[in-house]
């Protein structure tokens, strides 16, 4: 057989004739030109650009394969399989440590935590320009032995090449999946039943011990209401030093923090303990980190008198003065609308307001309203959600009979999950919502309440059965209710 290309006029005619029974649609067939060259079908590739013009990506990048019909099948598969593996950042022998105490709300890293870890990574890797010994020494407080250890580690190393490791401290169990991309070189996890409750004194004592053992260069806390702000100040008081709070920018050895309750910016030298605000730094995004469990250095043998103070500090016990009695149940309508976590909002589409209030009470939701409902006198003015009322930040927002005026949509912009109950499936609220129920609102609410009732009665039945079992097997049944509330407390807190 020769390699000479021969035209097949009949096949070409079939390819041109879309009505021919043997015709195969364009693009699925290898197209050859009259001279036998393979032809790209430009009508089948590419995508429509922003101004309506057709664009073809000819860069040859992974994504550009997808648009080429010829390779579509195998190309898209490889693109999906290909997962970008970030380079691993390793610190074998760190010269110093940067300690980060994350909030770790329900075991996960918040975006605030990630920002702080990013800042810590920056502090650990930035080339040391001038060692600010003043701030460093200040942090050692009443413990001279720690400075000694720090100097030993730095001997023989050029100050320009010192690299640090970021040590993250977690309390309680970790449930975060993406720990390695957060920028954690070493990990310290305090686990145990006692950490499931509110025990700032215990946590502070643990941190104090750890700080004495690893002698970190900086200690960073998120300046948040989830505990970081409190814990940082407690530790600072114990170390006999001060904090820089509301830090929002770190420039080499200078930091900028908000003073006078947010009215001034204070530019000051960097300090040992910093409470940093959200978005103080970009989170780590280019590297993976080891997340090695920090093997804590052994307590050095007492050689000098000063070492005794170290040992004393490490074995230092604390007195627990605060006892957590669990969370109080709060009337959802007493919660400020701006900080409520679950809002049931009613608008013009509601016909049965009694049922709406009943549903809010049963679901345990804070009540909100659209402007129309407020103007018509069904709800008080302070319940109005939207740009002209309250800007809400709820995790779950249920809009019943609200079609979604632009002011209302602005007010709920920060809500995570929006559920719309409406009769009109083309309204703006349905476009925004994660889940839309189209139909009569009172019927849907009634069905929802039935489900909640069913669940509650099922739970009650279970509890009764459990109690019976407990009574039969052990005498400690009296303890179980209290324990249960204590365990549920952290979850309820962040709900």
């Amino acid at each position: 057989m020769s390699n000479l290309f021969r035209r097949d006029p009949r096949a070409q005619w079939i390819a041109r004739n879309r009505l021919h029974p043997l015709h195969v649609p364009e693009g699925q067939l290898v197209q050859r030109g009259p001279t036998g060259l393979l032809r790209k079908n430009v009508h089948a590739i590419g995508f429509i650009g922003p101004n309506g013009l057709k664009r073809i990506d000819r860069s040859g990048a992974a994504g550009s394969f997808k648009q080429l019909n010829r390779q579509s099948a195998q190309g898209s598969k490889s693109a999906a399989q290909e997962e970008i593996v970030l380079p691993l950042h390793k610190v074998a022998n760190p010269d110093f440590y940067i300690l980060v105490v994350v909030d770790g709300v329900s075991g996960r890293l918040s975006s605030h935590d990630r920002d702080i870890l990013g800042l810590a990574h920056k502090l650990a890797t930035q080339p040391a320009t001038i060692e600010n010994d003043a701030a460093f020494d200040k942090g050692t407080g009443g413990n001279e032995a720690r400075t000694g250890a720090g100097v030993d580690a730095g001997v023989g190393v050029d100050p320009g090449e010192r690299t640090g490791a970021v040590v993250a401290v977690f309390f309680d169990t970790i449930t975060e999946e993406k720990l390695d991309t957060a920028g954690i070189d070493r990990l310290v996890n305090f686990e145990g039943n006692e950490y499931q409750q509110y025990n700032p004194e215990k946590r502070c004592a643990d941190l104090y011990k750890l700080v004495n053992q690893i002698n970190p260069k900086h200690i960073l806390f998120p300046d948040s209401i989830h505990g970081g702000a409190d814990l940082g100040r407690r530790l600072a008081a114990k170390l006999n030093t001060t904090v820089a709070s509301n830090v929002w920018k770190v420039n080499g050895n200078q930091i900028v923090c908000r003073g006078s309750a947010g009215k001034t910016d204070i530019t000051r030298p960097i300090t040992n303990i910093m409470l940093a605000l959200e978005e103080c730094n970009e989170p780590v995004s280019d590297t993976r980190h080891e997340c090695k469990v920090l093997e804590q250095p052994l307590i050095p043998l007492p050689k000098q008198a000063s070492d005794q103070t170290l040992e004393q500090a490490i074995t230092n016990t604390y007195e627990q003065k605060i006892t957590d009695l669990g969370n109080e149940s709060v009337n959802p309508n007493d919660i400020n609308l701006a900080e409520a976590g679950f809002i049931l909002s009613g608008g013009n589409g509601i016909t049965d307001w009694d049922q709406f209030h009943h549903a809010a009470a049963i679901l345990g939701a804070t009540e909100g309203a659209s402007r129309v409902a407020v103007d018509d006198g069904f709800m008080p003015r302070e319940r109005q959600v939207g740009a002209t009322g309250t800007w809400v930040t709820a995790k779950v927002y249920i809009a019943v009979g609200i079609s979604g005026a632009i002011q209302h949509m602005q007010g709920i912009a920060q809500c995570e999950k929006v559920i719309a109950i409406n009769t009109d499936d083309s309204c703006d609220m349905v476009k925004r919502a994660d889940l839309s129920a189209i139909g009569d609102s009172s019927a849907i609410l009634a069905a929802l309440l039935d489900l909640v009732h069913e669940q509650k009665s099922a739970l009650k039945g279970n509890q009764k059965r459990d109690q019976k079992n407990n009574n039969a097997t052990s005498d400690t049944s009296g303890l179980t209710p209290y324990r249960a509330t204590a365990k549920n407390a952290p979850e309820a807190q962040h709900a």
Partner: protein, 282 residues
């Protein structure tokens, strides 16, 4: 003050500071301190003391202290401190002799550095427990030596806490709003100035109490204080290696995955119930 009274009266001291209005910059009652005072006034049968550490014979301080007096106080004690920085040492010296059962403060000052360290240093130096951001004192049992408090949590939640006496507590903005200040009461109340220079010489160890803190305040001369600038908004950083990727990132439509739409009432209720379960709001 340490003698056990028959009436079992609880000694409460409220530390008040001079606040500053965020816009007009006029001196005013500090919002959190006024709330702390409101909590103190609402506890029945107590020896309530109100204390301010600052410069005496200052017009601004006096007008603000009158505002506090107008809440119905007979007296405010003013620890006369010539320099702003010595207030902690002076307070520690004063409380060393007679520790109150409960010390209430705001969380942060409205002027100066407002690092919020004062209650923490006081609790550490005086060996008192510290409870941050409380909203209410539920009960005080002096004979058993404990008190029950309500603490403010995010999302409007509250936690009940039992704490041993004596303790320091900072008061959250979620606490009850302070009562209005009455002019007549403000005129009747008096400001008692206590000189702290005498207190300094009394206790020999005053200098050794916090050498680091005094050291820190000499460093404050290096600080540059400017009016707060608006913080830059965080931009979405696109780390594209090729021009094509950058082009894609710039032209790509937002992935606004349209939500699910359900037309059947029962199915809709099921789906909503499932979401509420998943988000743990039920």
């Amino acid at each position: 003050m340490h003698k056990q009274t028959v009436e079992d009266n609880v000694n409460i001291t409220v530390l008040v500071s001079v606040g500053e209005h965020p816009l007009s910059k006029r001196p005013r009652r500090a919002e959190q301190d006024a709330r702390a005072l409101e909590i103190g006034l609402n506890v029945p049968d107590t020896n309530l003391q109100v204390m301010h550490a600052g410069a005496a014979n200052n017009v601004q301080t006096n007008t603000v202290l009158k505002d506090y007096l107008g809440m119905g106080l007979p007296e405010i004690k003013l620890l006369n401190i010539p320099h702003e920085n010595d207030s902690l040492t002076a307070l520690i010296n004063t409380f060393d002799k007679n520790i109150p059962d409960i010390l209430l403060t705001g969380i942060r000052a409205e002027t100066g550095e407002s690092s919020g360290m004062t209650p923490y240093v006081l609790s550490e130096k005086l060996g008192m427990a510290l409870v941050p951001s409380i909203t209410e004192i539920l009960c005080i049992n002096k004979t058993a030596g404990y008190a029950e408090l309500l603490q403010a949590l995010p999302r409007g939640q509250r936690r009940k806490i039992s704490v041993k006496l004596p303790f320091v507590a900072t008061v959250d903005m979620a606490a009850q709003a302070p009562r209005q200040s009455a002019f007549g009461a403000a005129m009747r109340g008096k400001i008692t100035v206590i000189d702290t220079i005498a207190a300094h010489t009394d206790s020999a160890g005053s200098a050794s109490i916090s050498p680091d803190l005094t050291n820190c305040e000499t460093l404050q001369a290096e600080w540059k204080i400017t009016p707060a600038q608006p913080r830059p908004k965080r931009l979405k950083i696109i780390k594209a290696k090729t021009a094509a990727d950058r082009f894609k990132a710039a032209t790509a439509k937002a992935q606004g995955g349209a939500g699910k739409v359900i037309y059947n009432n029962q199915e809709a209720a099921d789906a909503i119930f499932k979401i509420l379960k998943d988000e743990k709001v039920l």
